[in-house]
């Protein structure tokens, strides 16, 4: 970030100390390492390779969902539509690839269609946001319900089980010790990062979170990009839904249950701000690992499952407090 060209007096005249920022960026990875080491010491089962694989497998779906939600958060919006969209995509893909309900066998094409359906649903919340001027909190809430409805319609009382080899193998077959789903998730994170770093869409998502008015002042029409971001997020949720289906080799309406707040938690823990403009896909990915390692570690050292949610809640608060305290100002507005 610091540039050789900057002359000294400029550095002296910096408006804001960098400490808070760098701490926000470095904190989560450090925390991740620490937590991992602590659990490794506490529990022999935890440090086994098998468990590391297990952690990565468990993290994969959440990672993909968080990828999507991160872009929305970057804009300073919020997205609660993951459960509905994932449910719809999960059922859709189950019905489109080889399954026990109908004799479709679209294979990859089926996956594509499911993801497109999800993207369309995401697009819906984006449109409602920019056309009806309804806060994203509500539009995504509504779209989530719509998605669940669509899923229930398609479910139609009979569990669709997939017999598609490709999809089934994703969760089972392993490459270098990790299941294909894990690699898929890794790929998503990479793609997400590339979009965020190298695409106009991604950069504008940052800009919208940073100073929306400046964009329009520079003659950029913001609305289309907002819609595009929600569509992109929807696509990610859709893929996540497909992944759940391949894990269970069956389409569930509840495929996305609880992933909305889980993803927000992960993103925030990773250092992506709800106010937008800060953080990113990589931050969120770290957050996902942090949360997953915690949950898994707690089980391994035998903490009652009931406590696990609570511990996570605590972690979020602590993580954010740690990030904001170094740079708190008098008369600062915190919503």
């Amino acid at each position: 970030m610091t540039s050789p060209a900057e002359d000294v007096d400029v550095v002296a005249a910096r408006p804001r100390p960098r400490r808070g920022v760098s701490l926000r960026d470095a904190g989560p990875p450090i925390a991740l390492v620490v937590v991992f080491l602590v659990f490794s010491v506490l529990s022999p089962e935890f440090r086994t390779l098998g468990n590391v694989q297990n952690i990565m497998d468990t993290a994969s779906v959440l990672a993909v969902v968080t990828c999507g939600i991160t872009f929305v958060l970057l804009m300073g919006s919020i997205d609660l539509s993951a459960p509905g969209i994932m449910g719809a995509a999960a059922i859709a893909v189950a019905l489109l690839v080889a399954n026990n309900r109908n004799d479709h066998d679209l294979g990859l094409a089926g996956v594509l269609v499911a993801v497109l359906l999800a993207a369309a649903l995401g697009c819906l919340s984006g449109l409602a946001l920019v056309l009806l001027k309804v806060p994203s909190f509500m539009t995504t809430l509504g779209v989530s319900a719509v998605g669940l409805g669509v899923a229930t319609l398609m479910f139609n009382g009979v569990q669709p089980n997939i017999s598609d080899d490709l999809l089934a193998s994703l969760a089972v077959d392993r490459l270098l010790g990790f299941s294909y789903l894990t690699w898929l998730a890794a790929a998503c994170v990479l793609v997400g990062y590339l979009i965020q770093r190298y695409s106009r869409l991604g950069r504008y998502a940052y800009a919208i979170g940073g100073a929306e008015e400046v964009l329009s002042l520079s003659g950029v029409k913001v609305a289309p990009y907002k819609v595009a971001i929600f569509t992109l997020a929807g696509a990610f949720y859709g893929l996540a839904g497909v992944m759940v289906t391949s894990q269970l080799s069956a389409g569930l309406v509840q495929a996305g249950k609880g992933y909305d707040f889980a993803a927000i938690t992960a993103a925030v823990v990773g250092g992506t701000l709800l106010t937008g403009g800060r953080g990113g896909v990589l931050h969120s990915a770290v957050g996902v690992l942090l949360v997953t390692v915690l949950t898994n570690g707690l089980v391994q050292i035998g903490v009652s499952p009931y406590w696990q949610g609570g511990v996570q809640g605590l972690i979020v608060v602590v993580a954010v407090a740690a990030a904001v305290l170094p740079q708190r100002r008098r008369n600062q507005v915190v919503k």
């Binding site: 297990n54 056309l131 009806l132 009382g157 569990q159």
Partner: protein, 362 residues
């Protein structure tokens, strides 16, 4: 911009209104729209209003249940109103009280309470409103059906027996000795408690079978997958068998085994005999399950209510109002007989509605 959005709103709401109508008109014929205040037990067959309520239609067993309800309603020339509450106790109560605020004189309800603790308020409201109520699966042990005139019957399967049966089947499958793990259901449900009690009983008889670990997966396939994965890494090859309190969780466990490459090496048992489980048993992926007949449950509850409402059956004549329904242990040898559960119309005949009773709930 505002103008545009306003008009957009108008448009959307219009299309919604249309939507609402199509959505509702399907059902509006279900309502017997007259307020004839018929005394209990003397309803004209046409006045009877049949309601079946389950958690959600997005679960095969409960969807089949509602189908069964429709089948019975059709057989008596009526139609069933379907209610679902997404496994949300609050919403269930809200629906019931709203339902009972309507015309209740000839209302017959076949209800699946979300949990034991949800049964008392349902029963009391039905009693107050004078609707005919049949509940299934969940009720607090100390709540007696006979204390209420409108609560015609409570039907359930003997969870202890089924839990024990599959426990024994599992023990045999792993050769009478070895470690197993148990996946519990929603802890608040009688079903979950009884079935686990059954497992304990079975364990008592097989001292060499060791219960390594037990966690709840809330009857959910997805949760079972995660829990099993973790337990597999925790206990590794010590796990010889997996006992699941229902088939959905058993199937989730199967996926976990598949992912761990242990498919077929670990025996899995469940309860409910959902179609997927039966196929799994046919392929030998699963060891055993216990039949519970969704379609029949959906129909029989309405049938009992219908018979009492129309006066063909008197509450006082019912010997056991809280009773166990008949169930079978299903394994590879006999699975073929259960692949397509059929309900015989005659079982809904008013003199025959208790044909599957295995006696009172002890």
């Amino acid at each position: 911009m505002i103008v545009k959005s306003r008009s957009a709103v108008a448009l959307l709401s219009l299309s919604l209104a249309a939507f609402a109508f199509t959505g509702c008109s399907e059902e509006s014929n279900a309502e017997g729209g007259d307020d004839s205040t018929a005394a209990a037990g003397a309803c004209a067959p046409d006045d009877v209003k049949l309601v079946g309520q389950v958690r959600n239609e997005s679960n095969p067993y409960e969807a089949a249940w509602l189908e069964g309800g429709d089948a019975f309603a059709k057989s008596v020339g009526l139609s069933q109103e379907r209610l679902t509450y997404d496994g949300d106790s609050t919403k269930q109560q809200e629906q019931i009280s709203q339902l009972l605020a309507g015309d209740t004189d000839c209302l017959v309800m076949n209800i699946l309470p979300n949990g034991d603790s949800d049964t008392p308020p349902i029963v009391e409201q039905a009693q107050e409103a004078g609707a005919f109520l049949v509940t299934q699966w969940n009720k607090p042990a100390d709540l007696n059906v006979t204390d209420y005139s409108q609560w015609l019957s409570h039907i359930t399967y003997d969870g202890v027996t089924s839990g024990q049966q599959i426990g024994d089947a599992l023990a045999d499958a792993i050769g009478g000795s070895g470690g197993i793990i148990a996946l519990q259901g929603i802890l608040d449900t009688g079903a979950a408690k009884d079935r686990y009690a059954g497992l304990e009983a079975s364990l008592a008889e097989h001292p060499d079978v060791k219960l390594l670990d037990q966690q709840t997966a809330n009857f959910s396939r997805a949760e079972a997958l995660e829990v099993t994965k973790t337990l597999l890494t925790k206990h590794g090859d010590d796990i010889k068998g997996i006992w699941a309190a229902n088939d959905d969780m058993a199937l989730g466990a199967l996926e976990a085994l598949k992912a761990a490459g242990k498919e077929g090496k670990v025996a899995v048992v469940g309860i409910d005999a959902v179609p997927d489980a039966l196929t799994a048993i046919q392929d030998g992926a699963m060891t055993a399950t216990v039949s519970s007949d969704g379609p029949w449950q959906g129909g029989i509850g309405l049938a009992i209510g219908y018979c009492v409402a129309t006066g063909e059956l008197s509450v006082d004549d019912i010997t056991d109002r809280a009773w166990f329904a008949e169930q079978f242990l299903i394994q590879q040898d006999n699975v073929a007989d259960f692949v397509s559960p059929t309900v015989d119309e005659s079982e809904y005949a008013c003199d025959n509605v208790f044909s599957r009773s295995q006696g009172p709930i002890s």
